[in-house]
């Protein structure tokens, strides 16, 4: 199948190319004139934080979205890709993070669904399974093709998905975070397969959050940020720190070192996490948090930062270690326990886990307080309006009415609503997961102002953010996460984004400033 691409190779140096691609969603520009070119026989890593435009670009390259400007070229010829199936006929196959196969069907059927060999008009299972066995051997898999796909590990399913994609398309393979749920050995196995395919001439786009993996198999790298192309570079020319810097942006200067907020040893300790962790979540960590202190959490996507927040809040309760609150032992088994202890949590995915879209702004603001009060101590409408109005004003929530559905607000205002929801419960400790992502400049400033104000009022906070200079500005300490472990706790003077970038990248070869 692969040599089909070889025959049709045009004079273009790129198998698949995006030229000046633009994609707009409502008022947001998701992709702003992005260029991207993929060569034969290369593994090309596509990097960027959430909202950088990676997934939008992939969706355009696979035909799931149509670009609002610019064009997509295959072998140098402009094409219109109607949908992923159409892209497949142009030789472009995709494997998604969540294996998009059918766990309820056999491995062979997953390989050949829609293209099953037939005999007298009936599916020839025997031939299909024989073909499947031969094909799987090429991918180093020795398993019964008749077995249910769901009975195999995610890694095997991932390889089956790759085999199907290559078999049906054969020119370009897009791997969208294929390693997110694999362990180390499985990743290595996957990389062997990718290496073989690359040597066979396949062009591969590889999306991941793990820098190690980028450096392990990629030839070139393209970094996107805020919908723009930052750089396309041969990987050998870049250090880890360079890559992290490109991803997090802001031309981080190593000179302008800021001092972190001085830790104030006179204030009381609020929380002591010791050996706190969760199997398959985050490795045990120790962390002490004082009142009136902001702990910044830095780390790339997938580093375990969100998992840490969920463990602290009891959404995925810890299964090891202990917690003391105000120097008394405490147990957080679920979110109710956390809320009773005065915790609050603004999740990263606002739409899926934050807002109650069809409910009003007012109801969204009072819901956590009401949850704390229980079924029968209901806030009446006037009380609700008073609370919602108070926060609406102090947080500057721009809503036509407090009774309008919250889903109609802009992202920034939704974020303020969720923040208000927790402030209404008068929390002692707030966990904010990417509170400023994907929101407009005004709302961004408002949220940073609020964080500062709350800290000065004595609230303890953990803030997860990719905006490093911002984190440096309001934090008293910075915790760095990598590979689901807390790898560093930065404190004191001379902390700047550059130092953090290095801690994230952790390249021992590079000198610390």
């Amino acid at each position: 199948m692969i040599d089909k691409g070889e025959r049709r190779m045009a004079d273009s140096q790129y198998v698949l190319e995006a030229r000046g691609v633009i994609k707009i969603f409502g008022s947001q520009t998701a992709l702003d004139s992005v260029d991207f070119g993929l060569r034969r026989g290369e593994v090309h890593a596509l990097l960027g934080e959430n909202g950088a435009g990676k997934s939008t670009l992939i969706k355009i390259l696979t035909g799931a979205y149509q670009p609002d400007g610019g064009q997509v070229l295959v072998d140098g010829a402009p094409v219109t890709l109607d949908n992923p199936l159409h892209a497949q006929t142009h030789g472009i196959g995709t494997v998604y993070q969540e294996v998009n196969l059918l766990p309820n069907r056999s491995v062979a059927e997953n390989l050949y669904l829609g293209h099953q060999p037939t005999r007298f008009g009936l599916v020839d299972h025997r031939k299909m399974e024989r073909d499947a066995r031969v094909l799987l051997t090429r991918y180093g898999l020795d398993l019964d093709p008749g077995s249910e796909l769901g009975s195999h590990s995610v890694a095997v399913q991932q390889i089956v998905a790759i085999a199907r994609a290559v078999e049906l398309s054969g020119k370009v393979l897009i791997l969208d975070e294929p390693t997110a749920s694999l362990d180390r050995n499985e990743v290595e196995r996957l990389f062997e397969v990718i290496g073989d395919l690359k040597r066979a001439g396949l062009a591969i786009i590889f999306i991941t959050h793990f820098l190690d993996q980028v450096f392990a198999i990629s030839d070139r790298v393209t970094v996107l940020r805020n919908g723009r192309l930052v750089e396309t570079q041969v990987l050998d020319a870049l250090s880890r720190t360079d890559v992290v810097r490109l991803m997090l942006g802001k031309d981080i200067a190593f000179s302008g070192a800021t001092d972190l907020e001085p830790e104030n040893p006179t204030t009381d300790v609020l929380l002591q996490f010791s050996g706190y962790g969760r199997k398959n979540g985050v490795a045990p960590f120790d962390l002490t948090i004082h009142k009136g202190e902001v702990i910044g959490v830095a780390g790339l996507l997938g580093s375990g930062r969100t998992e840490m927040a969920r463990i602290m809040f009891g959404a995925d309760p810890a299964d090891q270690g202990s917690l003391r609150v105000n120097d008394k032992p405490a147990n957080v088994r679920n979110t109710t326990d956390a809320i009773t202890l005065g915790f609050g949590f603004c999740p990263e995915d606002r739409k899926a886990e934050g807002i109650l879209g069809d409910l009003s702004v007012r109801e969204n603001i009072i819901i956590a307080l009401q949850g704390k009060l229980g079924w029968f101590k209901a806030l009446n409408r006037d009380e609700q309006l008073e609370i919602a109005g108070r926060f609406g004003e102090s947080m500057d929530i721009r809503a036509a009415s407090l009774d309008m559905p919250v889903k109609l607000l802009s992202g920034g205002n939704q974020q303020k609503v969720i923040l208000s929801r927790w402030l209404a419960t008068d929390p002692a400790f707030l966990i904010l997961d990417e509170p400023t992502r994907g929101i407009d400049v005004g709302a961004h400033a408002e949220i940073v102002r609020t964080i500062n104000r709350l800290r000065d009022d004595g609230m303890a906070m953990v803030v997860i953010s990719s905006e490093l200079d911002e984190v440096v500005a309001y934090s008293s300490r910075i915790v760095v996460m990598r590979d689901r472990k807390m790898v560093a706790e930065l404190r004191g003077k001379n902390i700047n984004p550059g130092v953090i970038v290095q801690a994230i990248a952790n390249n021992p070869d590079e000198a610390t400033p």
Partner: protein
């Protein structure tokens, strides 16, 4: 508050009810003609209230279930079971209040069973409630031993055929229940929490709301409402008919709730509007009867109503009103 009430009067459900009643009036000019006889009102309109009561009572309970993204297919069968319990107990010589309490307790137990399957065993509501839908009628027949158990207990009969201030008892029960349940969910935080888990269970859970107890509550309430409806129907015909009591009424109740503006996808709900929905269905029933069509014509009209509502709620109908182009994955599958 005051302005809101005015808005509510102009909502589509009430307009539809007025429309259906108006058509009835045109087809049958004496439709609104109400007479006073033997200390109670009589007339077609009063008949609508009386006959619509069982579905209205079921719809009150069904609303809560549908608001949590669930559905309760077993209410018709629970009606039969509870009617059978009440009837056989009075026939066996128990006083009517005891029989009624026993029937209500059985309905509550059925509801808790459904709630247990949905909330604790995490079985899909349509699947979970199917069990009682199938077995319920058998249980009812087991209680009545296959016959229609008739009774003469005046207090029990009063529940179905008596009157209060001239209005039929069944309608009075439906209204009182509607007010009580509405107060229960609106004066407490229960209504808000039900909506929250119906809209976004993950977000509601992160906001500290636990869905398990709420789910148990809504299914228990639905079972209880079915018990009340079952008693009313049994009292009305002075007998428990295990085969036909409440047959297909679960579907009418679901329809009433959907007409009342509660989405099958959960979220915002209105109990009074579901009751209005039940009245719309009954007004059409009555209209078809009085204008001489065969009663089965009703089924065709109901089918038409479902199709109309599905069209109105479909993504295509909403398209012109969408405020923001959704950047959803739907494009991927189109």
């Amino acid at each position: 508050m005051r302005r809101l009430r005015l808005d509510r009067l102009a909502n589509p459900q009430l307009l539809a009810l007025v429309g259906v009643l108006a058509i009835n009036w045109l087809l049958f000019p004496s439709f609104f003609h109400v007479t006073w006889q033997d200390g109670r009102f009589f007339g077609s309109f009063i008949d609508v209230l009386n006959r619509g009561a069982p579905v209205a009572i079921l719809a009150i309970g069904m609303t809560g279930v549908i608001a949590t993204k669930g559905v309760d297919l077993s209410v018709g069968a629970i009606m039969a079971v509870c009617g059978a319990v009440a009837a056989t107990m009075v026939v066996a010589g128990y006083p009517a209040p005891i029989a009624i309490i026993a029937a209500l307790a059985v309905g509550l137990a059925c509801g808790l069973w459904n709630g247990f399957l949905v909330a604790v065993l995490d079985i899909q509501p349509i699947v979970a409630t199917l069990v009682l839908m199938v077995a319920g009628r058998g249980i009812a027949q087991l209680i009545t031993e296959g016959s229609i158990v008739t009774f003469n207990d005046p207090s029990l009969i009063f529940v179905g055929t008596g009157s209060f201030l001239g209005f039929p008892m069944a309608a009075v029960i439906a209204v009182v229940l509607m007010v009580l349940v509405t107060l229960l969910v609106r004066r407490t935080a229960i209504g808000l929490f039900i909506q929250a888990i119906g809209v976004n269970r993950a977000a509601a859970s992160l906001a500290g709301i636990h869905s398990r107890m709420l789910l148990m509550l809504v299914y228990a309430l639905s079972g209880l409402c079915a018990a009340i409806a079952g008693i009313v129907v049994a009292a009305d015909i002075r007998g428990a008919d295990a085969n036909n009591s409440g047959l297909w009424l679960e579907l009418d109740a679901i329809l009433a709730v959907v007409i009342g503006g509660t989405s099958l996808l959960g979220g915002r709900f209105s109990i009074p509007m579901a009751v209005v929905g039940a009245l719309i269905i009954q007004a059409m029933n009555t209209g078809i009867l009085v204008s001489g069509f065969p009663p089965e014509f009703n089924l065709v009209v109901k089918a038409g109503m479902i199709i109309l509502i599905l069209l109105l709620q479909s993504p295509y109908a909403a398209l012109p009103f969408k405020r923001r182009p959704a950047a959803s994955n739907k494009t991927a599958s189109s």
